[in-house]
Amino acid sequence: MSIATRANRLTPYIFMAPAVVVLVFALLYPIGYMIYASFLDWSPSQRIGEAEFIGFRNYINLAGDAAFRESFWVTIKFAAIVVTLEMVIGVGLALLLDRNIKGMSVLRTIFILPMMIAPIVVGLMWRYMYHPTVGIFNRTLKGMGFEEGIPWLSDGTWAFAAVVIADVWQWTPFIFILSLAAMQSLPRSALEAADIDGATEMQKIWMIKLPLMMPVLIVTLLLRLIDAFKVLEVILVLTNGGPGLSTEILALRIFRTAQEFQELGEAAAMSNVLLILLMVLTIGMFIYNKLQEARAAAMRAKANATGS
């Protein structure tokens, strides 16, 4: 190989070098820092170099920490419930609104408004609506004759329901617009063929529309799931994890461990646990995409091989 060709081969790497440098410093360095920190007994008053290296003790502590286990469980429960509800309502709405009615475009825009509001504002808004005496929900209930009202944010079960409702309100539109887009790109003629074959509207939904939308729905579900595991602001503002630990999701627990308990090492270890959880989901999504591509490629190859 001559020097010239060797230099030529190097050229692309030289062009990529700045991006790689930025990536290393902006992304990998903080993550590496966090992983390293999770092996330290570190308080904010110390420099990182002064902190004592304690190996896996932070992780071992986590495993034995009932509060952490509780908040891990709350996170899973929260993510599973909100994503299920959002999928059902979002896809259902899309199925209902996928038609040409006058003013539909305005209606669709209104539907996606909640998504555009900052989570902190959503939290504040719902906090006032949930207020035990002056909130709109309890005032309405009172107007209907239920004097007691609902202890929205002061009872563990109700507080969990309250944060679920707020999250569903904000994020259902995300699933709604994605599934509406998927639905509108479905092959119209296949649906017409189903009409002629004698399918009812319900049969068309179950046997044609939903199966064809499945790839988009699965990706949407994974995206939402990843997001739901990281939720923080709305819950922080609404309940701050309480009452008790009933709504203390992982992100909030991490925040409090670092802020209130000043245990930076332990907070880093928790973050890593959450990171691993999210990685599993992301890798799952990646594998799913790869599988889809491989299947499509195999189908094309088969079609070409058999000819006419």
């Binding site: 092959p187 003629s189 063929a193 002629i196 004698g198 399918a199 064809l212 189908m299 079609a303 058999t306």
Partner: protein, 362 residues
């Protein structure tokens, strides 16, 4: 099987009217072909019969029963779409059995039916495949198979061959012709390809601009087109049109124009006696001209050769007749001069005359 009748069928999209009162009767077991250029309303008519488009005015009768308010599934028809419209997530067998499964037919019956249809269409090796794993021709067959597995009395075809390459199209056309002889059903077929129309149809319906121009057997339409549009649309290469005038000389009629002066037969002259306008268009099919240097001048054309196109058994000459373009189709054995004039006699049966204003046949 049923008789299908369209009565004053009108279709409007908002203020735009695309079909202007279609009246048509299709007999039992007839193969009807709607043919016309893009946007003539042929597909819209078919989709209205199928129930995929609403009817703005008029009525569709199947065996004298009005059906325009009925859902597609209540009309007992099967349809083959231009883009095949297969269900991408179902394999071939499930695609073909979809309608039967919806009707909750017994499993054994469904399987037997699928096997039989797959056999006739040569799809047996592909029953487990998804549509994406099939070539264009195979997908076309599956679409056909899906229609065939149902016992509907009427088949609708919406340009089913237009996505295939030329060779495959010819092959599928022949198979369709064979199928239409075997299964005794009503077939309504939409195409813009006049060759498909001519080869497949019992009855051709030529449409243009949302109106039926003419309907009848392929032969009727080819021999006696009612207007210039139909004459020019059917036949390949298309009919030649020369502007001319009717004149009365020597006790008979002549049609004459720039570069030609053709005597009409006695019978023809008689029938043209009372035509008001003398301004006409002379129509002659390229195949109604034959090379004959000794032909009498008033029964022939002398044409200047511009280009000769050899297409195998035939040669098509592009000629000039007093400044107007005219095509001649000859057997390839005929010696053709590269340049200069040749004389072509006109088949007296092949003279078509149209009013220049109304374009209606005289």
């Amino acid at each position: 099987m049923p008789r299908i009748r369209l009565e004053g069928l009108v279709k409007r999209y908002g203020a735009v009217q695309v079909l202007h009162g279609i009246d048509l009767e299709m007999d039992e077991n007839e193969f009807t072909v709607f043919v016309g250029p893009s946007g003539c309303g042929k597909s819209t008519t078919l989709r209205m019969i199928a129930g995929l488009e609403s009817v703005s005015e008029g009525e569709i009768y199947i065996d004298e029963k009005p059906v325009s308010h009925l859902e597609p599934k209540a009309r007992d028809l099967a349809m083959v779409f231009q883009d095949y419209a297969l269900y991408p997530h179902m394999n071939v067998a499930r695609n073909m059995s979809f309608a039967l499964r919806l009707q909750r037919r017994p499993k054994a019956e469904i399987e037997q039916k699928i096997a039989a249809v797959a056999e006739t269409l040569g799809l047996t090796p592909f029953l487990e495949r998804k549509p994406a794993e099939l070539s264009g021709g195979q997908r076309q067959r599956v679409a056909m198979g899906r229609a065939l597995t149902r016992d509907s009395s009427t088949f609708l075809f919406d340009e089913p061959l237009s996505n295939l390459d030329a060779k495959l199209r010819g092959q599928m056309r022949a198979e369709l012709a064979l199928m239409s002889q075997r299964v005794k059903k009503n077939m309504i077929y939409v195409t813009h390809d006049q060759i498909e129309a001519m080869t497949l149809a019992d009855r051709i319906v030529v449409m243009n601009g949302g109106y039926i121009q003419q309907q009848g057997t392929p032969e009727q339409l080819f021999k006696n087109p009612v207007n210039k549009f139909v004459a020019g649309f059917l036949g390949m290469p298309p009919m030649n049109f020369l502007d001319g005038e009717l004149t009365h000389r020597d006790g008979t009629m002549f049609v004459s124009g720039n570069g030609f002066d053709v005597r009409l037969t006695q019978a023809r002259s008689q029938s043209l006696q009372h035509v008001a306008s003398k301004e006409v268009v002379l129509g002659i099919r390229p195949s109604d001209l034959s090379h004959d240097e000794k032909a009498p001048e008033d029964r022939s054309l002398s044409l200047g050769i511009v280009v000769s196109e050899y297409v195998g058994a035939q040669t098509v000459l592009l000629c000039d007749c007093g400044g107007q373009k005219i095509e001649v189709e000859l057997k390839s054995e005929t010696p053709v001069r590269a340049q200069g004039n040749m004389r072509f006699s006109i088949n007296p049966e092949g003279i078509h005359l149209f009013d220049r204003q109304s374009e209606i046949a005289l």
